[in-house]
Amino acid sequence: MRPLDWIVLLGTLGFIVSYGVWKTRGSKDIEGYLKGDNSMKWWTIGLSIMATQASAITFLSTPGQAYEDGMRFVQFYFGLPIAMVIISITVIPIFYRLKVYTAYEFLENRFDLKTRSLAAFLFLVQRGLAAGITIYAPAIILSTMLGWSLTATNLIIGILVIIYTMSGGTKAVSVTQKQQMAVMMGGMIIAGIMVVRYLPENVGLGDAVAVAGKMGKMNVVDFSWDWETSWNDRYNFWSGMTGGLFLALSYFGTDQSQVARYLGGKSIAESRLGLLFNGLLKIPMQFLILFIGVMVFVFYQFNQPPVFFNEGTKSKVYATAHADELRGLEAKYNDIFEQKQEAVQGLVTALKAEDDAAIATAQAQVSTYTSAGKEVREQVKGVIKKAVPEAETRDTDYVFISFVMKYLPAGLVGLLLAVIFSAAMSSTASELNALASTTVVDIYKRSLKQDGDPTHYLNASRLFTLAWGLIAIVFATYASLLDNLIQAVNIIGSIFYGTILGIFLVAFYFKRIQGNAVFFAALLAEAVVLYCHYFTDIAFLWFNVIGCVAVILFGFILQGLIGKRKKELVA
């Protein structure tokens, strides 16, 4: 990191934190602290919703995902706009009519206290875990790439967020997220422009996309369905439209970290418009981030990529007896790249000439070298596993940050690091704010201390924000790397979201089912989802559908049994 990078990074973060504290200074009541005094305009709500969902993992992992797997991850978001419309029509009017602080308050109104507490508990468990990962994920990557201490990085992210979230509550979260979104999108667009500029002179944007397509990276939509295999395919049109829809319905309709964003709106119309704004822009935003990942992939077709992107792990292997083995494989990988260069240039020439026969020949050659390169990378991962058994051998999360650190000029590195920090802070702030409001409103105020005055609950909200912040930092410090980070967050979400969504869908649409039936149906549904997670190969997106459908089905069955029993008792 050069001095200019430090200035840009510290200046950006310092401004955002100070602005959040200053703009919301003097929050004096619980209404203002938890609902932002219902003063938010639609664009603030929309940006806040997008910033909450876009964590640092989005900016670190998604380009890496595209580098490895192409554009198809965008299908994951196809259900989101439909969910925005459904929530705008059905959920928002009910929440506004009941003047709730949290989504779970509605459940007591519709069912009973135990169902409200169960939903709040499931939310606290899954969001509490996710908050830790939201801090940990960028911290582990930044600490590895920059040589910072992991604990210190966790602490920096956690403490910065705690400062303004504790100080200003929901409003501080929303106003800072506007600045954070500007930094995030500005930084990513600049990074995208830079990577295209760094391509060879004879390779324009169109040529780069064509090369990516011929190398299988422009696989944006896949409509195919195979009853045997597609259930295990995480990203296709059908899983995106069904699993993605259910996940988005759960996340935006029942997860307090998102519900709090639109409950702070000036009116129903402002809240609706904020959600629909997200429905319009989310897919293009994800497409852009994935596209930048694909451009980084094309860049590395013309520039030597590292054999393994996680330099920290590589350094550890160099310090072991396996160093020579790694060096040998690295040399072999570099040789393959040298040979591949000619084939890639041949592909570009053939594409420009629109010569189908030459394209096919060059494509076959490139494919052969790519497979050879992949084989060497697999061998490298084997060596890493032997040399450092505890090391993570997936390096896709390091692809983008590795490119940023190595190739971007002074100042832009600081800006891109500010993007990652901003993203980590924006989603963590929403999470801490939601965890605190759910703990205070649904547990503390409802079941533990009902006779406190507003100042007491305001102070309690601040203390719970601090407590959840510290829990998240501790969890982040002791978390170990889980598969792909973005997937880890989504898997944790999917395990609980289906059940929570099922409870809410029953509440909204199945008036016949009452409190006892839905409560036990939810417990059974959660058991089914956990069984699917631990004992089957079903892709995690389907857990949202399974959990939700199970709650509704069990709800009907149990309500039927309860009704029958009541009739027998009456008779």
């Binding site: 703009k23 554009m71 439909i82 029509i89 696989n219 939509v221 319009l280 897919i283 497409f287």
Partner: protein
């Protein structure tokens, strides 16, 4: 000194912009989704 935010003093929206009813806004969002899926399908086919 009291902090004044001109934006906060604007009256809240009661109706959707550009359209007479919310149905128009909803169709805009769903139409945008359909457009993006078709566009992505064309991109996939062209660059396959």
């Amino acid at each position: 000194m009291k902090d004044k935010h001109p934006v906060d003093e604007e009256p809240p929206l009661q109706k959707p912009p550009f359209f007479k009813s919310w149905a128009g806004m909803y169709w805009l969002v769903l139409g945008n989704l359909a457009f993006l899926i078709i566009l992505f399908y064309i991109i996939t086919k062209i660059y396959q």
